[in-house]
């Protein structure tokens, strides 16, 4: 087991109760420290299931997961302290202000006093939200909500950050700020695990990708190398369609 791996997944299986087909069917992955890893796939491919298992909120049916060298089964509480999660939903209390939400989350990670206050102010200013800090989340626009949702996931400076479609449904400006911030965060040493439907965005951002479909990893590697493997693809989106097909994936 190499020490430089942020994530190691071995033969991961997950079948939901009552489901006929497995959501994950033998997924194996390794994400080295310091990468921006894109987990891409159509709807229902198993992206969110994988992220939820890696974050410790969903038990796998079988398989082994190590995060930063720690076993997910045995060291979940330690793992929770070193990972950050930005879920797909705006998982913040709508009637609390941004500052109150962030203060609560920071306290849960053990931040206190001046350190907590400084961290909140710093994070808010990076995302241009400082002057809205004392407004309730329910008064925020969609883009502001996405940004504050991201801030909530990085308050404790995680070593590994999971983002489940962080830019879905937002304006161009907000998306640009978020992507730039993720690049900066990565340069500072944070490993980023990211899921998205936006292939162009993934191509720009990710240093490593895996395409998952029907619960299996179809392909993984560096985006530019993978595109070269598929003559005529030209870009990630075309390659993605070649691999996963054009059939609609409603589930």
């Amino acid at each position: 087991m190499p020490d430089s791996s942020a994530i190691e997944i071995y033969d991961l299986h997950k079948t939901y109760k009552g489901a006929e087909e497995p959501a994950l069917n033998g997924v194996s992955l390794q994400v080295p420290v310091g990468e921006i890893f894109g987990l891409l796939g159509p709807n229902g491919a198993g992206k969110t299931t994988t992220i939820n298992i890696l974050c410790g909120i969903l038990p796998p049916s079988s398989g082994k997961v190590n995060i930063a060298g720690l076993s997910l089964n045995a060291d979940l509480e330690k793992i929770k302290r070193i990972i950050g999660v930005v879920p797909q939903d705006i998982a913040l209390y709508p009637t609390l202000t941004a500052r109150e939400n962030l203060s609560f989350i920071a306290s849960m990670y053990g931040l206190k006093g001046k350190e907590r206050r400084d961290r909140i102010n710093e994070s808010l200013s990076i995302f241009g939200l400082q002057r809205f800090a004392d407004r309730t989340i329910q008064t925020y626009s969609g883009g502001m909500k996405r940004r504050i949702n991201l801030v909530a996931g990085i308050m404790h400076r995680p070593k590994i950050l999971f983002l489940d479609e962080p830019t879905v449904g937002i304006d161009v400006q907000s998306r640009s700020v978020i992507l730039e911030f993720l690049k900066t965060l990565n340069k500072e040493g944070t490993t980023i695990i990211y899921t998205s439907h936006y292939m162009e965005e993934a191509e720009q951002l990710c240093s490593l990708i895996a395409i998952i479909d029907l619960g299996k990893i179809v392909i993984q590697g560096r985006p530019e190398e993978l595109i070269k493997k598929y003559p005529g693809a030209g870009n990630l989106e075309t390659m993605f369609l070649q691999l996963t097909g054009r059939k609609l994936r409603d589930y």
Partner: protein
């Protein structure tokens, strides 16, 4: 501990930001206690403390009719109506008015009623003094008083009115019989006897509540209703608490909480603590409302009695049971609508079974047996032990234990169900 404090602070902020919800938690129960106590106050008052309007038609036009009317007029609790819009009553008009629901009750003294009582008196004297032989055809007609009731009235009201009227007319009947006896005897004695007067009842009644503990407490509508509706309101914490749980689940907040350090038990403890505080505050406000506000509405003031610690413990056990039940319903329900409908209906059913609306002793045997399954019944019994029977800690030990047991079982069940739901 710091995480628990952070969770408690968060729950507090979420709660106080919902002004409308808070208003409902504190204002609606107070309104409920006021309205229900005012409505039920009359059933706790003696009959002569209430006022009823009665249609009265005296076809008899003799002593019985006149004395009944005089008695009604002087009773202070019956207002007698003998004409409507200037038109004197007759039996048909009286019947029509009651049938339409314009009046709840009508009394008709049938013609010859007084003569029937007199004849009965004469017959009794003759039988007593062995004057004349009794024959098979010697039966005496009965005085007839017809009572018309609105079909919409409750049977209990009908029985109460009939008993009151019977009690009242028996005195008049007694007077007429004594008069007949005096008249009859005067025919057979050499000198006319002195008039016999009705000596009144030979039996007197003294009401003593069977409690040897705190004699200051007088059972009345306030002592009964304030604890009953306070318990009912405390269990209605189910609406905001299940709403809180389901909202966290629907918005992904519960998932975020599970991704953060700390465990589910801490998050649940914070909720239970905050909502327990709310419930205790609610109970305190309701009891103070009973003591200071209800008297402003001409109702008796609530008397707490000397067992304040027992009262506090009973309130704590009740709100814990209500909170545990709410957390369980919030864990089982998948939508707001499910939780709101099931929560509301189940609390109403448990309240009905538990004797909040109708005392358990008045229920059919089956429902009396069923009442023991309702935590509202355990709580009500405990409150009654303190507020009506003057009991203390030892008297409420069973009820408190049952409520705390219910709290622990529901909370464990909620945790198990939540874990199962999130791991599938």
């Amino acid at each position: 501990m710091k995480r628990l404090l952070a969770l408690i602070k968060k729950e507090f902020l979420v709660l106080v930001r919902d002004w409308a919800g808070l208003g409902l938690i504190f204002i609606m129960p107070a309104m409920l206690v006021l309205v229900m106590t005012l409505i039920q106050d009359s059933s706790f008052k003696k009959l002569n403390e209430t006022s009823l309007t009665v249609l009265f038609f005296d076809e008899d036009q003799d002593s019985l009719g006149m004395q009944v009317k005089q008695g009604f007029d002087s009773s202070g609790f019956l207002k007698v109506v003998t004409e409507i819009k200037g038109r004197p009553l007759n039996e048909q008009l009286l019947f029509d008015q009651v049938a339409k629901g314009n009046y709840q009750m009508g009394v008709v003294i049938r013609k010859g009623a007084t003569d029937a009582i007199r004849a009965r008196g004469q017959k009794l004297v003759q039988q007593t003094l062995n004057l004349g032989e009794e024959t098979a055809g010697d039966s005496v007609a009965q005085a007839k008083i017809i009572l018309y009731f609105d079909p919409a009235i409750k049977n209990s009201f009908k029985v109460t009115m009939r008993n009151a009227l019977q009690n009242f007319t028996s005195q008049i009947e007694g007077g007429i019989l004594f008069k007949a006896l005096t008249d009859e005897l005067s025919q057979y004695l050499p000198e006319p006897p002195k008039p016999i007067t009705n000596p009144g009842g030979a039996i007197s009644y003294e009401e003593i509540y069977a409690t040897d503990q705190y004699n200051e407490i007088i059972p009345n509508s306030v002592q009964h209703n304030v604890p009953a509706w306070t318990i009912f309101a405390m269990f209605f914490i189910i609406i905001p608490l299940t709403g809180n749980i389901i909202k966290e689940r629907e918005t992904g907040l519960s998932t975020r909480l599970r991704m953060m350090p700390g465990n589910r038990f801490q998050a649940l403890t914070a909720k239970v603590l905050i909502y327990t505080m709310v419930g205790l505050l609610q109970c305190l406000i309701m009891l103070q409302f009973g003591k200071y506000v209800l008297p402003l509405f001409d109702l008796p003031a609530l008397i707490f009695g000397p067992e304040k610690i027992a009262l506090g413990l009973m309130a704590l056990a009740t709100i814990l049971a209500a909170t545990g039940y709410s957390v369980l319903v919030g864990s089982v329900a998948t939508t707001h609508d499910q939780a709101a409908v099931f929560g509301t209906v189940s609390v109403i059913l448990l309240a009905a079974i538990g004797g909040i609306w109708v005392p358990v002793f008045m229920m059919p045997d089956l429902m009396q047996s069923a009442s023991i399954i309702s935590p509202l019944n355990w709580s009500l019994n405990g409150f009654y032990d303190i507020l009506l029977r003057g009991g203390g800690l030892s008297e409420i030990a069973w009820e408190v234990s049952a409520l705390l047991g219910f709290f622990i079982i529901t909370l464990i069940a909620a945790v198990i169900i939540s874990e199962r739901k999130s791991s599938t």
